[in-house]
Structure formats: C-alpha cells, structure tokens
C-alpha cells in the first residue's frame, strides 16, 4: 500500500483482494465518509454485517455506535490537512462489543474506485495489548510501592526498635554497677537475664534486617571464586575464635557465577554454623567440596558436629526455626532462611543431610 501510485492504477479487483487479505480490520470510505468497502476482519471484530454497513455513513454504523468524537476529529479535521495519519489511538465503549482501544492508520487517496477520493482506515484492536501493558505498569508500581514500604519499615525497625533496647540494657547495667551492694544475688541474676534477653532481641532484629536486605538488595552476578571465599571466611572465623582449632579441607578452584556479596553472606552463615555446631567436638573439621547430585554439580559444606534429626529437616530453612535451644547453641534461627533466600535468588537450591551426632552436610547448586 505504501506505493499508492501503482495501486491506484491497478484494477478494482486487485484493490479489493488486498483489502480482504489484510488481517486487521480495514474499511474504505468515500469523500462523504460513507462506507465503500470493508474487509472480513472488520465485520468479525466489530460484529457488523455487510448489508448494514456498505453505503452507510461511518458514524451511523451499528446504531450510531461509531459516532466517536475522536474519530470525527481524525476524519474531518486531521485527515483533510495531512492526507495520512498513523497510530491514532481511540478508546470507545461499543454497545455490542464493549470497551475497545483501537489504533488507527488513515490514508486519503485521490481518484480510485471511480470516486473523487477515498479514505482507507486500518483499525487495529489493541485492547488486550493495552490492558496487558496497563496491568504490567500497575504491577510494577505496586511492587515499587511495596519495596519502598519495606525499606521504610526496615529502616524504622533498625533504628526505632533497637533504641529502647539500648536503654534497657544500659540502665540494667547501671543498676548492676551502681547498686551492687544493695542488690542481692537473685536481683542481680534477674538483671542479668534482662540484659541477656535484650541482647538476644538486638541480634534478632539485626538478623531479620539482614534477611530482608538479602531479598531487596540488587542482584549483580559475576564470576566468584568460592574456594577463596571459603578460605577467607574460615580464616576470619579462626581469628574470632583463637581458642578453637578446626581442620579445614577446602577444594581449590571452585568458580561459580553469582552475586559476590550475597554469596559471601551465604557462605558466612554456612561456615558459621559448621563452627558453631562442631564446638563440642574434640577434633572439629569441615570440608568444602563439590559432588554430582542428580546429574548436576553441587557444592557442599560438611562438618562433623552435632548434626540433627532428619525428621526436622523441613523446619531447617524456616525463619525463626531452630533445632537447638539457645542455651545449647546460640542463634536466632534466621541464618539458614537467609541462606535459602540467597540460593533461591540465584535460581539455585540448597538442602541438607545429617544424622544426630554425625555431622551435617549442606549442599547447594548454582545455575550457569
């Protein structure tokens, strides 16, 4: 249709067959805006029939359903000045077929079909596409709003919830210090408990924030040397626990694709657990290695610590879930939930195998 000069000179049949071949609704109007011809698609999409269409003023089609102000503007004001107009969007509520969003291409051609001039009007029904776009925008806005709210909430948690804890711990400490000669042992032990609980809550808040940060932080994958990461974290743990000795077996050269800061948090948690749960062993050890599980390469961290009963394995990765009491092993129950979120964000998996008294093994996979 672009080269209108040629098509104007072609016989009527060619023009007609082009109109009927086009997949989107197409309608031909004469200079009085009466319908000269319309294609099958037009009849189908707009539920009109040829008998009541051809020869009619376009605005009168389907009981004046087509009397649309924006269409009038296009046909009567824009087109006489410009002769072609593409991508003209019209939204209209049709009595028969409901609300439709249409994208119109209009073109005015001189002397064809024996008429002085005709107007070709191609009408694409973009209702679904447009609705989909709107849904996407709406969903994105909602996600952004939720994220903002989460950020504000986390900020408030990190700041406002910790502040009173500092007062509780600080003044309990002041009582213990300034009134030690007035307090008996029971009173002192109560204050100790207050302080312990306060500090535990402080750790809970911190870990909760870390967990939420793992979800909302940006994800920037790159090549990460896991072996080096494991060694560095292991050395740091050794420095923090100089009184403990642990045998570390670390497989060298394990390179994965992932977000370095998230993987660091995951490995810190897994190795931290290995250290914690081997603390009662005479000879503690952990191993970082790779293996093949169901045809896929999986990394694993294995320790010879207290392990756990596989009956509770489902609870292992839940937030605030613990398989040991705080007095047995300290902790908040958020570490492994964080680990799982990290591997999920990578599109990978993490799972565990263990036996009471025989240590635990944490496997994880990372795609790519």
């Amino acid at each position: 249709m672009a080269d209108s000069k040629t098509s104007v000179d072609e016989p009527l049949e060619l023009a007609e067959s082009i109109i009927h071949t086009v997949r989107e609704p197409l309608i031909v109007l004469d200079h009085d805006l009466r319908v000269v011809s319309a294609n099958r698609s037009f009849y189908k999409v707009f539920k009109e029939n040829p008998e009541e269409t051809v020869g009619q003023l376009i605005y009168n089609l389907g009981n004046q359903q087509w009397d649309i102000p924006k269409l009038r503007e296009l046909l009567e004001t824009i087109l006489p000045q410009k002769t072609t107009f593409d991508g003209y969007e019209v939204e209209h509520d049709f009595a028969d077929i409901g609300r439709r969003i249409m994208l119109l291409n209009a073109r005015q051609i001189q002397r064809v079909w024996g008429k002085e001039r005709v107007i070709l009007l191609a009408i694409e029904d973009i209702t679904e596409k447009k609705d989909h776009e709107r849904e996407v925008v709406k969903a994105r806005d909602a996600a952004e709003a939720a994220n903002k709210e989460l950020e504000a909430f986390s900020y408030s948690v990190s700041h406002d919830l910790r502040t009173p804890l500092r007062s509780i711990d600080g003044f309990s400490h002041a009582l213990l210090e300034d009134y030690q000669d007035k307090l008996d042992d029971t009173a002192k032990s109560y204050l100790d408990r207050v302080r312990k609980a306060t500090q535990h809550m402080g750790r809970l808040i911190d870990d909760m924030l870390k967990l939420s940060r793992v979800t909302r932080s940006e994800f920037q994958p790159e090549s990460v040397d896991l072996s080096t990461l494991v060694r560095e974290i292991s050395e740091k743990l050794q420095q923090c626990n100089p009184d403990r000795m642990i045998d570390a077996i670390i497989r060298e050269g394990v390179i994965v694709n992932g977000d370095p800061s998230l993987l660091k948090i995951a490995i810190e948690n897994l190795l931290g657990n290995a250290w914690k749960f081997t603390s009662r062993e005479v000879q503690s050890q952990f191993e970082f290695n790779t293996t093949v599980k169901e045809g896929k390469t999986a990394c694993f961290i294995r320790d010879n610590g207290v392990g756990f009963d596989m009956a509770y394995v489902d609870k292992l990765f839940g937030a605030f879930q613990r398989l040991h009491t705080t007095s047995e092993f300290p902790g908040t129950g958020i570490g492994l939930a964080t680990v799982q979120r990290i591997f999920n964000r990578h599109g990978g998996e993490v799972w565990a195998e263990a036996e009471v008294g025989k240590g635990a093994t944490f496997y994880f996979t990372l795609p790519g």
Binding site: S154, Y155, S158, H159, D160, R162, T163, L165, R166, S167, D169, G170, F171, S172, H173, A174, R195, T198, Q199, M201, G202, L209
Partner: protein, 145 residues
C-alpha cells in the same frame, strides 16, 4: 578555648545519659554540650538562636551526631557543617542506630569522619564511646580558627 568540647547531638535522653555515663566511666572529662535536635546543634555551632552571642571561635573538637533528629535531621546538620566555612573542618562522627547502607553512603559522601553504629550491649557501647572520646579529644589534632 582549649576546653576541647564534645558536641553531642542526640534527642533521646536515655542515650544522652548512657553516653555521658560511658564518658565518665572512662575518665573522659571534656566539656560536653548537648543539642537535643538539629536546630540546637546548628545554633551552637553558629552562635545563633538559643546560643546567640556565643564566641564561635570556640568550636567542638568532635561532633557526635545522631541521624534521626527532630526538626533538622542529622544529615542536614552534617551538610550545613561542611558547607559553612566556620565549621567545615570540625570532625563529625555519626553515632546512630541504623546500619542502612544508604545512610552510611550519604554520611560519608557528606563528609562524615566516621560512622559508628550504637551497639545494644552497654559494655560494647561504652567501649565505642571510650575509643571515640580518647581518639578525637586526645590524639586527633584539629584545625583551630
């Protein structure tokens, strides 16, 4: 001068008392000026408002600045301090509950000299105040106007 003043900008009276207690426990006897919000802090530094007529040649050797403050926030106080010739070289330590990355980035970008998160455990808190107090009032050399 030579009072080597500490300006503590803190709206929470408990935190004020605990900070003073930590300083005292560690024998840091410098004069401590307390500002309960950002306005009071800037009034002190510029000798305006409630501190009108103060000799502003005497400036603190360290500003301990909380971030979440009524009226004018800690970040705004910091921005003002750095933009003003009179105060631009005063060391500022952010002392806050938040470890939000964006606060740290913004704080350092605005020219904070240090960023300390107040620990819940008082012993750790007192240790942090002790180290801060000793370092900034005793060892660090500030530019005197």
């Amino acid at each position: 001068m030579e009072d080597r003043i500490i300006l503590l900008v803190e709206d929470n009276p408990d935190d004020v008392d605990l900070t003073l207690r930590a300083l005292k426990k560690n024998n840091i006897k410098n004069k401590v000026i307390i500002a309960k919000d950002g306005v009071e802090a800037l009034d002190y530094l510029h000798g305006t408002g409630m501190h009108a007529g103060r000799d502003t040649k005497d400036q603190p050797v360290i500003v301990m600045l909380d971030l979440k403050l009524p009226k004018i926030s800690g970040m705004e106080v910091l921005r003002d301090i750095r933009q003003n010739e009179r105060t631009s070289l005063i060391p500022v330590v952010i002392l806050t509950s938040s470890t939000e990355q964006k606060d740290m980035v913004e704080g350092y970008k605005l020219g904070a000299n240090s960023y300390i998160r107040k620990p819940v455990d008082f012993e750790q808190f007192a240790e942090a105040i002790k180290l801060l107090g000793l370092y900034w009032t005793l060892y660090n050399e500030t530019v005197q106007s």
